[in-house]
Every structure is written in C-alpha cells, then in structure tokens.
C-alpha cells in the first residue's frame, strides 16, 4: 500500500501567505527529504530532515520520527514558489519512496 501520503493534494495562496504541507509515512524511514518540482520540470532537493527541525531560507521542516510525520512550512510565499512539493523517505539501501505531492499555486 501507499507508504508516503501527502496533504493537501493542492493548495492555492495569495502571495505573501504562508503554506503548511504535510507528509505521513507508514514505514520506518532512515531518511526523509523534501523535493520541489517546477511545472513540467525536474526535481530539486530542498532539504533533508530525518528528525527534528531544519531551516533553509523561507523553508522550515519539522519531522517527528516516532509519529511518522513531517511538515514543510513555506513563509511569505512568492509566485515563484508555485509547483509541486514532494516528500520522500528512504527505506533502506538509499532507495527513495515518494509521495504523490502537494501542488502549490501562488497567485500575485
């Protein structure tokens, strides 16, 4: 069954608003990563956060390993943040399992 579930499936914001994306996983993960995929484009790693809280720029990720969940907070959203955000876990042997993503649209 689905090992990584993301919510919401889609989100529309006005520029400047904050976004909160959720990721829940059903199996033990040795690694958790967030990726960004531009519309029709490739994937870029945003940050790796197997546990605790990590910040990079306007992004904050909090992972609670025991509860098998992670969140990605985007502050002061910009139109260039539009795209799909993917959560992925590493089961073992460094093979990532991806969720289906959250599609974010930031309107000007």
């Amino acid at each position: 069954g689905q090992q990584v579930q993301q919510s919401p499936a889609s989100l529309v914001l006005q520029e400047g608003e904050n976004a909160e994306l959720q990721c829940n996983f059903s199996s033990t993960a040795t690694q958790l990563q967030w990726f960004y995929q531009s519309p029709g484009g490739s994937l870029v790693s945003l940050l790796s956060n197997p546990s605790g809280t990590k910040h990079t720029g306007r992004l904050t990720s909090t992972t609670v390993t025991k509860e098998r969940r992670s969140s990605l907070h985007i502050s002061s959203s910009q139109t260039t943040d539009s795209g799909t955000y993917l959560c992925a876990i590493d089961r073992w042997g460094y093979k990532l399992t991806f969720g289906t993503g959250t599609s974010l649209l930031v309107d000007p």
Binding site: V4, Q31, Q33, G41, S42, L43, V44, S45, S48, L86, A88, Y94, K95, L96, T97, F98, G99, T100, G101
Partner: protein, 112 residues
Amino acid sequence: EAAVTQSPRNKVAVTGGKVTLSCNQTNNHNNMYWYRQDTGHGLRLIHYSYGAGSTEKGDIPDGYKASRPSQENFSLILELATPSQTSVYFCASGDAGQNTLYFGAGTRLSVL
C-alpha cells in the same frame, strides 16, 4: 553542481518496438536510479544500480531492463514497448553520503 543528462527528452514509440532511454552523470556518483512519474502514483522506482556492471530491480521492474556499462551511464530498455509504459521517466544519481539525489530533466515517452 551535480549534472544528470537524459536523452532523448521526448520520444514517440510504437507498440512492440524497442526503446532505449539514456542517462549520463558527470559527478562520479556510485548510485543511479530510474523512476517513472504518473498522475496519482507519484514517482515509482523501476531499476537502480550501485555501480558499473550492477543493476537491481526496483518496485515496478516488469517490462523494463537496465544496463550500467560504466560509472557515468545508466540506460533503461523497453524491449517490447506497450501503451501502459507511456509516462515521464526520470533518471537520478547520488551517493549515500550526500543524503540527496540529483535528477535529470526527464524523458516524456509516448507509446502508441
């Protein structure tokens, strides 16, 4: 910056034909991966490799073969393409110590 190059970027194939998707990375990564991305399924792992000469089955290997002739190159082969293999295919590379993967731009394959 890690570089992963896929070719072709777009491909139209006929049912029953042979298709080869190529991937080249210039970062000396040991691990390489082939994923496909479909609406509603996210990215799913087809084959992966831990180094030249090695290939391993991922989660959905049926109908696909892989080849890793060198550290830099990793190919995905569809011997008998079917319409169900219409998808966007992504190649990625990485090393465990880097804690991330670097993805190519993707290949959009249509099997008619």
